[in-house]
Amino acid sequence: MKTIKSSVLVLAIASLSACGYGHKVDKTVDRGYDSKGLSQLKAGILVNPDGCDTWLIDDGVEGYWMNRLDRYGKPVCSGRAAPGTVVGEFKRGSDPI
C-alpha cells in the first residue's frame, strides 16, 4: 500500500516537472501565459462571515486572500456586501480555475 502511494507521488512530481512546474527562482512574478509582476494583481472584496472585508485575488492558478486593515491595524468592516459574497473584479488570471 505504502509503495503504491509513493510511486503515485513520484509520478505526480515527475509529470509536474514535465509541465514546467519545477523549481522557480523569482517568486515575485507570476509564471505562465500572463507572466507579470505580482504588484499588478487586481483584487475584489470578499466579505467574510464576520462581516469584515478581505482582499480576494484570483491570478489564474494562484489565489490570494488577505485582510483589509486600516492604517491602525483594525479590520475594515465596511458593510460593502453581505457576508459570504464578493464585490469587484478579482478573476484577472489567464486561466481561472
Binding site: L38, M66, L69
Partner: protein
C-alpha cells in the same frame, strides 16, 4: 554549455530525490525529533524574497508566487501596524478649526466645512479617528478625542455618509513631536479615512 545544463539538472534531481527520501524517512519514523524538524524546515537551496502588492487603500502586502502556489500576507511593522501610504487618508482636519479648547462641539463654520467635505468626498464609507496633543492626562485625551470623532461622524451621518467606525486615540498616535507648539498643533486633529 550542455555540461553546465546537465550538471544543474542532475543537481536538482539529486536534491529532489534527497527531499523525497527525507519525506519517506520522516513519515516512517514516528518520533521525528526537534533537530530533524529544524533541518527539514530550513530550505537552504531556496531563497524566499516576496514582492510587495499595494492594496487599493494604499497598504502593503507581501506576496509570493511559488509556481503553482500563491502566498500573501499583510505587511506589518513590529508594532503590528500595517505599512500604509497616504492613499485613503482623504481628510485631516486640524481640530483647532473645528472645536474650542476642551470642547467637542463643532463650530458653525466647522459644520459647514464638514458637510461639504462629506458631500464631495465620494467614498463608500468613512472611519473617523480623533487625536489630541499630549497635554492633560491620557485618560482625558482618550475621551476628548473619541467625543470629537463622534461629533464629526454625526455631521457625516446627517448628510447621508456611511460611517464605518469611530475611534479616539488620544495622544497615543502623534504625527509630530509634542515638544513644540507647532508639533502639538499638528497632533490635534481628526482624521477621516475614506474607503472606496
Amino acid at each position: 554549455m550542455g555540461k553546465i545544463f546537465s550538471k544543474a539538472v542532475s543537481a536538482s534531481l539529486a536534491g529532489a530525490s534527497a527531499a523525497l527520501l527525507a519525506l519517506a524517512v520522516s513519515s516512517n519514523v514516528a518520533s521525528a525529533q526537534s533537530t530533524e524538524v529544524t533541518a527539514a524546515t530550513t530550505h537552504k537551496s531556496d531563497k524566499y524574497h516576496p514582492g510587495v502588492w499595494l492594496d487599493p487603500d494604499g497598504c502593503e502586502h507581501w506576496v509570493m508566487d511559488d509556481g503553482v502556489e500563491g502566498y500573501g500576507t499583510n505587511r506589518l511593522t513590529r508594532q503590528g501596524l500595517p505599512v500604509c501610504h497616504d492613499v485613503n487618508v482623504c481628510g485631516v482636519m486640524n481640530t483647532d478649526q473645528l472645536f474650542a479648547t476642551d470642547s467637542h462641539r463643532v463650530s458653525a463654520s466647522g459644520k459647514n466645512r464638514l458637510r461639504s467635505f462629506f458631500q464631495s468626498a465620494n467614498a463608500f464609507g468613512y472611519t473617523i479617528v480623533g487625536h489630541t496633543d499630549s497635554r492633560a492626562s491620557d485618560e482625558y485625551n482618550m475621551r476628548l478625542s473619541y467625543n470629537r470623532a463622534n461629533s464629526v461622524a454625526a455631521i457625516g451621518n446627517s448628510v447621508g455618509a456611511r460611517i464605518i467606525d469611530v475611534r479616539g486615540y488620544g495622544e497615543r498616535m502623534p504625527v509630530a513631536s509634542n515638544g513644540s507648539a507647532a508639533g502639538m498643533q499638528q497632533n490635534r486633529r481628526v482624521e477621516i479615512l475614506c474607503f472606496k
